[in-house]
């Protein structure tokens, strides 16, 4: 730096400035840390209230310290000193497993409790048949012109999903009426295991550059999912949830770890860390069970996660609110992702530079600053009062929240699209591509990671919102899961709000609310960390 001169003359002069500079520097650091430290302290308090780690036996802590903390620290420390890339790989696998298990919980709620497996299966069949037809039609792209092709595809989807009332049954109806239907776990294993097998097969085929290896891996994934269904009851668990966890969490994580072990020879020692954590937790749990040490009396327990609200804080649970948040998130994503990306594509790729475009531009940035409670009023006034919908349903809540995050999705998607180099577009045009072909084949694939990151962050914002849901009349207390788009919905933040204001009592303040806050924060933290990891990966690649 300019002040660090060697000469004695400047030394005395610089000494004074250096003190001021140092003080200033540490003041700035303190200011930066203020918010973060405050939040950290508050989080420690709320976690302590919710999980109560001090109520556990000393033996419980000791067991887990010996089986989990000590080995993990040793392996982690070794990797940190020897091979940081391997440490990164190991922690990625651990984080991926944790997030995937969380995600599989959500999938289990949706595909077991909200949508009965048979209904889900019937719609899956109803979608697969016209999708296959579309793929076949695309092969004849040159023979059939665009308009009849789109018409045929649209008709196929419509006929398959809705049929012709009175004349022709839709495919979901036919499947549901079939005389012999497989049991729930078979359906789940077929549908979820099938999707997992497809993803795993593609991944392995890509990294091994060998289609046969992909096929083998895919079949193996399906078989493992099926085996999990048989193994579940033996261990005393429900086979449905075992299938979901295996297909959504275990198989993909194992594939990623296996793929890394095969391709990244220098870093694969990092998998040792993941192994230590998994084995350590399992051994610790078994040892605690065997030795009879009692764990902490956490309010975040199985009962809290699977029970509905109750007027007594001990028995109150979050289940309908969790299901509601998941349904809302799916609805919001389905509504805001296509429209947000579409608007961003229009503004970046199509829009002429005229007044209307500039107006849309200013308008979007102003919409981003409108308070969420005003969006709630919009939902109440337009959807409920003018369009006469019932208050507090999934679809109204989803639509309101989708409008709320739309400006954020548009702004972040535009940034991602703008980051695509102009040369790539020109190369595409140079090959004779049309505008839509350029958008579809060049711009969107290039911008996809950025768009995805922005959308995940916006969805995190949406599921943390409470005010719009209150305004559209979502019930404060809900005892059953919403199962349709028109059923009443609750959400995790709404339940936390209801407990901390309408049921305000010492009991709720110290038991149910902290537990609800912890669950909500874990979900949001998981979403934010996915987004941040994706962004870091994307930024380091480009």
């Amino acid at each position: 730096m300019a002040t660090d001169t060697e000469s004695g003359y400047a030394e005395g002069f610089g000494q004074v400035s250096r003190t001021v500079g140092t003080v200033f520097r540490y003041l700035l650091l303190a200011a930066t840390m203020f918010g973060i430290v405050t939040l950290a302290v508050l989080l420690v308090y709320v976690a302590n209230d919710a999980i109560q780690p001090l109520t556990a036996d000393a033996g419980w802590h000791l067991t887990f310290f010996l089986t989990l903390v000590v080995p993990t620290t040793l392996v982690g420390g070794y990797l940190y000193r020897r091979n940081t890339d391997a440490l990164k790989l190991g922690s990625t696998v651990v984080g991926m497993l944790a997030v995937a298990v969380l995600f599989s919980g959500g999938v289990a709620i949706v595909f077991v409790d909200i949508i009965p497996p048979l209904t889900g299966f019937s719609y899956a069949v109803g979608l697969v048949i016209p999708a296959a037809l579309t793929v076949i039609l695309t092969k004849y792209e040159r023979q059939i012109s665009f308009t009849p092709r789109v018409a045929a595809t649209g008709a196929a989807f419509f006929l398959s999903l809705f049929g012709v009332p009175g004349y022709l049954h839709s495919i979901p109806e036919l499947v549901q009426k079939a005389p012999v239907v497989p049991s729930d776990w078979v359906i789940l294993a077929l549908v979820l295991g099938g999707v997992a097998a497809l993803v795993v097969g593609q991944y392995i085929a890509r990294i091994r550059e060998d289609a046969t290896a992909g096929l083998i891996a895919g079949v193996a994934a399906l078989v493992v999912t099926g085996l999990a269904a048989l193994l579940g009851p033996l261990l005393g668990y429900d086979s449905n949830s075992f299938v979901v966890v295996t297909a959504v969490a275990v198989v993909p994580t194992a594939t990623y770890a296996g793929g890394a072990a095969l391709t990244r020879k220098r870093e694969r020692i990092g998998l040792l860390l993941a192994g230590t954590v998994i084995v350590g937790s399992l051994v610790g749990a078994a040892a605690v069970d065997l030795l009879g040490f009692a764990g902490p009396q956490s309010w975040v327990n199985w009962q809290f996660l699977t029970n509905p609200h109750s007027s007594s804080a001990e028995r109150a649970g979050l289940y309908p609110a969790i299901g509601g948040s998941i349904l809302l998130m799916v609805t919001v994503a389905a509504l805001s992702f296509p429209t947000g990306v579409g608007a961003a594509v229009y503004l970046e790729e199509y829009a002429p530079d005229n007044r209307f475009t500039r107006f849309i531009d200013v308008n979007i940035s102003n919409l981003a600053g409108v308070p969420s409670v005003v969006y709630g009023l919009l939902g109440l006034g337009v959807f409920v009062t003018y369009l006469g919908q019932a208050t507090g349903t999934v679809i109204i809540g989803g639509a309101t929240l989708a409008l709320l995050i739309l400006p954020i999705v548009i702004i972040s998607s535009r940034e991602a699209i703008r980051a695509v180099p102009q040369d790539m577009r020109q190369a595409s045009y140079g090959m004779g591509a049309t505008r839509w072909q350029t958008v579809k084949n060049v711009v969107l694939p290039e911008a996809f990671p950025g768009i995805l990151t922005g959308t995940i962050l916006a969805l995190g914002r949406a599921i943390g919102e409470t005010a719009p849901l209150i305004m559209i009349g979502a019930p404060n207390v809900l005892f059953s899961l919403p199962t349709e788009l028109t059923s009443k919905v609750s959400a995790m933040p709404l339940q936390v709000y209801a407990w901390s204001t309408l049921f305000a009592s010492e009991d709720f303040y110290t038991k149910a609310v902290p537990a609800g806050v912890v669950v909500l924060l874990v979900v949001l933290l998981a979403m934010n960390s996915i987004a941040i990891v994706l962004r870091n990966k994307f930024e380091s690649e480009s």
């Binding site: 730096m1 300019a2 002040t3 250096r18 001021v20 500079g21 520097r25 700035l28 650091l29 930066t32 203020f34 918010g35 973060i36 939040l39 508050l42 308090y45 709320v46 665009f146 789109v150 296509p338 429209t339 579409g342 608007a343 594509v345 229009y346 849309i360 308008n363 919409l367 600053g369 409108v370 308070p371 969420s372 409670v373 005003v374 969006y375 919009l378 006034g381 337009v382 009062t385 739309l406 102009q422 020109q426 045009y429 140079g430 049309t434 505008r435 839509w436 943390g464 409470t466 005010a467 209150i470 933040p493 709000y497 901390s500 204001t501 806050v517 949001l524 933290l525 934010n528 941040i532």
Partner: protein
């Protein structure tokens, strides 16, 4: 650019095929949706609010009870049961939360921005920036709960007379919540200051402290100021934290008097939530007062956003 012409030349022939037309109109409709949203918000708020006031209700052909516009804008009592709709009682407490959070967030936010843009190493930045994002990502209802359960009792040690619901704890959490907003926008403005200016400063014998406070901050002033306004507009519109922590009793407090921060009151957004939770019949006076408050809130935040945009554009130093 000449390449634009090239693009049009190359794409002209295919621009109007059915596929291009279909996709282009889909994208256009998506973009137009944002305009429709704005029009619906403005239209809805104006129509419903004008049904509320005596002076405009005949225009909307509304019979029944109405409230005086003058009383609404100048009254200081908000009691729905007594049909008293003085919005100043709500505006004053919103102003208090705004001032309180500004005292916390503006200096801390700017200091954070200076640290991140001038002092922090790349490694420190890669840790601090996501941490700050988490600060903004925590749901506001959770902040409200923190204020009510942890911060208020802690403040009670210092100020024994503090109420269970008080403006101070609400202001503190809203302030923490908007620090990242001030910090990230100000930091963008500071990073945009060209390095030549810093080098010139060092060349004149300035220290890093001098360069940061004497060159970078003045050069980025328009960005910093616009971040202030945006963050304050966010604080005004903030709902759940103040609903949970600030109180439920509407009261006109003097925002300049520090002692009044120990009392609870009802900011505009909290009043809206409260109105919705009390059973109001659709179309009644209380229902319409909701939209009247909403209109005031919308107009205030819109004006602030426009000012922020104007400041950022008009006073930006161009290098």
């Amino acid at each position: 650019m000449s390449t634009d012409d090239l693009e049009t030349d190359l794409t002209r022939n295919t621009e109007n095929t059915p596929r291009e037309l279909l996709t282009r109109s889909f994208f256009f409709l998506c973009a137009a949706l944002s305009v429709v949203t704005t029009i619906s918000i403005v239209g809805l708020l104006v129509v419903e609010a004008s049904k509320f006031f005596t002076i405009t209700a005949p225009l909307m052909d509304v019979k029944g009870e109405t409230a005086s516009l003058v009383d609404f804008l100048t009254g200081t009592t908000w009691q729905i049961n007594n049909q008293e709709f003085g919005v100043l009682a709500l505006v004053s407490s919103t102003l208090m939360v705004t001032i309180g959070s500004a005292v916390i967030a503006l200096p801390l936010g700017v200091a954070t921005a200076i640290y991140l843009s001038e002092y922090a190493s790349a490694q420190a930045r890669s840790v601090l920036k996501p941490a700050l994002e988490i600060l903004a990502g925590v749901p506001t209802v959770v902040y409200g709960f923190f204020a009510l359960i942890y911060i208020t009792p802690a403040l009670g040690v210092v100020f024994p007379g503090i109420g269970t619901f008080n403006m101070l704890s609400a202001s503190i959490v809203v302030g923490i919540m908007i620090i990242p907003m001030v910090a990230s926008i100000s930091e963008d403005a500071m990073s945009a200051v060209p390095d030549e200016l810093r080098q010139a400063g060092y060349g004149m014998g300035a220290t890093k402290f001098d360069v940061s406070t004497g060159i970078v901050v003045p050069a980025a002033l328009s960005g910093i100021f616009s971040s202030f306004i945006l963050a304050l507009s966010r604080a005004i519109g903030e709902t759940m934290a103040v609903t949970v922590a600030a109180g439920a009793q509407a009261k006109f407090l003097n925002p300049i008097n520090p002692a009044s921060y120990l009392e609870g009151a009802l900011p505009m957004t909290a009043a809206m939530v409260q109105l919705l939770n009390s059973d109001i019949t659709g179309g009644g006076l209380a229902y319409r007062s909701l939209f009247a408050i909403g209109l005031v809130l919308f107009v205030i935040t819109l004006i602030m956003n426009v000012i922020s945009d104007y400041v950022a554009r008009r006073y930006r130093e161009v290098y």
